[in-house]
Amino acid sequence: MTSDRNCIPPPAYRWHRALLVVAVLTVLALGSWELTAQLQPGKPLREVVTHALTLDPLAPLSAVFAPDS
């Protein structure tokens, strides 16, 4: 009864995983970008860490949905 196709997950598995990979890579890339921008010669590391902890992850969404005014 079990055929070779039994071992192959349906395409929906791949689509969901691809979406998650894109989301993870996007967050990692944005985080690296932000970190690189903050890491400047002579800037205390404490300030970088403090800045990172005060980042609002929903800021891009807030900017998109904010009223024009």
Binding site: M1, N6, C7, P10, H16, V24
Partner: protein, 537 residues
């Protein structure tokens, strides 16, 4: 003197060790902490990210366990038990990613990250364990321990962040999935309820709104095709075949099976209006003849009204052909064997408004209706929307007396029936009550047959065959108790005078199709004008 030297040496050693510790803290520990802790955290974040991506991509050593159809059947997929409508285990099908696999992927990514940090701690502990007095080296050993701790913190923090991202990405998909799934289930149930659609098995007489479906590829039976954890729009069979969800969709595309005996049901079962009509009465009353003539007349009526009648299986097709031939030749109907309840004659009706319905006509030997003990197996009686009681007028003593001396009486009066219709009715009604059937929700058509033979008698000459006249005639001929009891038991009783002959549609007043047309109309299938079946225009 020796004692003083020892004390001085001891103090010198302490001073030297303190100096070593101070120098190590100053030049190794502090720079190491400043450098390695951020690097460790960054490495932990990177490790968590790489692990998550590698797990989701299914790379070789990161590939998570796949939740497949076998796990679903065995109950190890993490799905909840089926709750309503079915008593079977879950079907051999792939679960939706949103139902099980997402959690396995997430747990797998976490465990891979933890394995990496555990390995780093293990290596460090092994290396430190090889030192003779590791405690003495604490200013130096604190650096790798701090780096390992930073790595663990980085992996944990990034893992938590990625879990939140995972959930944030999946949450709107879950919402859509739940909304679509519940909507489709509601549409499915509502469509079935509106149409009066059920699946009825011709073998075991089981009635259900949730039939089983056979995979066209591997022939595996799927017992619950409704949208759910195995898929919203489609179920993917374990063999890979894509099955449409919703009963009303699947019934049009997949082979339908009875969930109780796994007999093959007609295409469209549980998606089309299903009307079940048992025809009962005493032996030789004319039940089989009424069904045969009624089928032929129904076909003619359907054609005349722009509708269509077609047989749904080979047995029914054969029965229809036999009925047509029988009526054409004017031959007598063979007696129905009393061994068991035969399968119904099933026809599909498509009205001019494209409303499709399936009509099952159940015929069984009158012997099975003669005693309470013999009708226990007639399960189809319990699920009928309406029933037809066949009354042979020549079984009534008063009519037989009136026929004596009438023109042609010896030739036209058929052989009398064995039992009177009231006894058959009482036995059948008792059976329904014993099995908990609410007859007050059912309709009963009482069909007085052999109207063509009554034409030679004086009784019905001035009687038009309207329901009221037939009712009055039955009361006048000693069946008043039957009439009163039937009207008390059933929600509605209607009376018909029919001639089970092959007659043109124009002669519809005595058409053998009338009882069936009335019951069909009560189920929402209108094939004929209202006035023909005794309703007002």
């Amino acid at each position: 003197m020796f004692f003083v030297v020892v004390i001085l040496a001891f103090l010198l050693a302490i001073a030297a060790y303190t100096a070593f510790c101070g120098l190590a803290v100053l030049f190794v520990l502090l720079p190491g902490l400043v450098l390695l802790v951020p690097l460790g955290v960054a490495a932990g974040v990177a490790l968590a990210g790489v692990t998550a991506v590698a797990t989701l991509l299914g790379l070789k050593s990161w590939r998570p366990r796949t939740v497949g159809p076998d796990e679903v059947v065995q109950g190890t997929a993490g799905l909840s038990d089926p709750r309503s409508g079915t008593h079977f285990d879950r079907d051999w099908a792939w679960p939706s990613y949103l139902a099980a696999q997402w959690l396995v992927d997430l747990k797998s990514a976490w465990s891979k990250g933890r394995e990496a940090t555990d390995a780093s701690w293990e290596h460090l502990n092994n290396a430190v364990g090889r030192l003779s007095h590791p405690g003495w080296w604490w200013p130096l050993l604190a650096v790798p321990y701090a780096a390992c701790a930073a790595l663990t913190i980085g992996v944990t923090a990034a893992g938590a962040l990625l879990t939140v991202i995972h959930l944030l990405v999946l949450f709107p998909i879950w919402m859509g999935w739940l909304l679509l799934g519940s909507t489709l289930r509601s549409v499915d149930a509502l469509t079935q309820r509106t149409r009066g659609a059920t699946a009825s098995c011709p073998r075991c007489f089981y009635i259900t709104t949730l039939p089983s479906f056979e995979c066209p590829s591997c022939h595996r039976i799927h017992h619950d095709i409704r949208p759910g954890r195995l898929g919203v729009m489609w179920h993917r069979c374990g063999c890979g075949w894509r099955l449409p969800t919703m009963v009303v969709r699947a019934a049009q595309q997949l082979p339908v099976r009875c969930p109780r005996c796994e007999s093959t049901l007609y295409k469209g079962a549980a998606a089309l209006t299903d009307v079940r009509v048992p025809v009962f009465g005493p032996t030789s009353a004319g039940k089989t003849r009424l069904i045969a003539a009624g089928l032929v007349a129904l076909s003619a009526t359907a054609t005349a009204s722009g509708s269509d009648l077609s047989c749904i299986d080979d047995d029914s097709q054969q029965a229809f052909q036999d009925a047509t031939e029988l009526l054409r030749r004017g031959a007598d109907t063979a007696r129905t064997p009393a061994s068991q309840a035969p399968p119904p004659v099933t026809v599909q009706l498509t009205t001019s408004r494209r409303h499709r319905a399936v009509l099952h006509l159940f015929d069984a030997s009158g012997d099975l209706y003669s005693a309470r003990e013999s009708n226990a197996e007639l399960e189809y009686l319990d699920h009928a929307q309406g029933m037809v009681l066949v009354v042979d007028p020549f079984s009534l003593p008063s009519l037989r007396q009136q026929s004596v001396g009438t023109r042609g009486s010896l030739l036209t009066v058929p052989k009398p029936v064995a039992a009177d219709p009231e006894q058959t009715y009482q036995v059948t009604a008792q059976r329904l009550r014993d099995f908990g059937v609410t007859t007050s929700h059912q309709r009963l058509a009482i069909a007085v047959v052999k109207a063509d033979l009554l034409a030679d008698l004086p009784v019905p000459e001035d009687m038009r065959p309207t329901p009221d006249n037939v009712r009055a005639w039955l009361i006048d001929n000693s069946l008043d108790h039957l009439v009163l009891t039937a009207e008390r038991d059933f929600s509605e009783v209607r009376y018909f005078l029919v001639a089970s002959q092959d007659q043109p549609v124009a002669d519809a007043e005595l058409s053998p199709a009338l009882p069936f047309l009335w019951l069909l109309r009560c189920s929402g299938i209108a094939l004929s004008p209202k006035h023909l079946i005794g309703e007002h225009k």
